[in-house]
């Protein structure tokens, strides 16, 4: 992803911060007892809340100063209202997205119909 682009982003809230995942990278979202699980093409991440999908969210690249001072791979940065949103790199999400729970969450849902009720709404 180069330069600013409008993307379809799944918006998450996790540990008090807004996170985004390119919708294309999301296979499905399931809900567990300790939150949500976003199933990606490769792997999955957990989130406290799934806020919805933002259509045409402007995403800036984050390989500048941020990359110098933050070791996490970032897919991009966005602004939602006045709040910064970190768009994760689906291939290497930040460490905080590592699942706390164990094997129970490893079961992949069967279809997209398992997405939560908030899907598709702009928070």
């Amino acid at each position: 992803m180069n330069g600013v682009s409008g993307e379809r982003v799944l918006l998450l809230r996790h540990q008090g911060r807004l996170w985004g995942v390119l919708h294309d990278a999301v296979r499905t979202v399931t809900r567990g007892h300790d939150g949500f699980r976003v199933w990606l093409r490769e792997g999955d991440i957990t989130a406290d809340h799934v806020l919805g999908v933002i259509e045409d969210l402007r995403v800036w690249p984050a390989d500048g100063v941020l990359a110098r001072f933050w070791g996490e791979k970032v897919g991009g940065l966005a602004i939602l209202g006045t709040t910064p949103v970190v768009v994760v790199d689906p291939s290497s999400p930040p460490a905080i997205f590592r699942s706390v729970s164990g094997p129970e969450s490893s079961a992949e849902p069967a279809s997209d119909s398992d997405l939560g009720p908030d899907m598709g709404k702009t928070p």
């Binding site: 990359a67 110098r68 602004i79 910064p84 930040p94 905080i96």
Partner: protein, 155 residues
């Protein structure tokens, strides 16, 4: 706020020093630093910064400026300056970082912004290749001349 020789000169002659010689004097910890004025985009207060998990100490977090995400750094830690008195009005200097052709804005959180000063290049004692380009004495006080070119993408 100390009165710099540039203030006196500008007041007396009514003239303005060349842009390359003009710097924004800021307080970072216990040091005064001169940021190149042509790199300074804006000075803002009360910037809401969202910290990032696992970030280094220099990285304060992310903020929003002009509808765009802004990386905010702790300029005192960046310089390695000793902490000074608690800042009465901490401000964020939004400047362009990186090479001249880069337009990546970065926010530099400082303790205070003082004034715009003129520092002829000849007066600057050369430093190194790092963020501190050199040193100069203004009003009897040492001032570190900053280069923001070294900030920016890793490569």
């Amino acid at each position: 706020m100390p009165v710099s020789p540039a203030d006196t000169a500008a007041g007396q002659s009514g003239g303005v020093a060349p842009a390359d010689d003009r710097y924004l004097l800021v307080q970072a910890g216990d040091e005064k630093c001169a940021l190149p004025l042509d790199r300074v985009r804006r000075i803002v207060r009360s910037l809401s910064v969202t910290p990032l998990p696992g970030a280094s100490a220099e990285l304060k977090g992310l903020a929003e400026f002009g509808g765009e995400p802004l990386t905010v750094l702790d300029f005192s830690r960046l310089l390695g300056a000793a902490p000074g008195a608690s800042p009465a009005y901490p401000v964020t200097v939004i400047a362009w970082a990186g090479p001249d052709e880069s337009h990546e804005l970065v926010g530099l959180q400082v303790d205070a912004v003082l004034e715009v000063v003129s520092v002829p290049a000849d007066n600057i004692a050369a430093g190194g290749d790092g963020i501190v380009r050199g040193d100069v004495s203004l009003g009897g006080e040492p001032v570190r001349v900053i280069s923001l070119s070294v900030l920016g993408s890793v490569g």
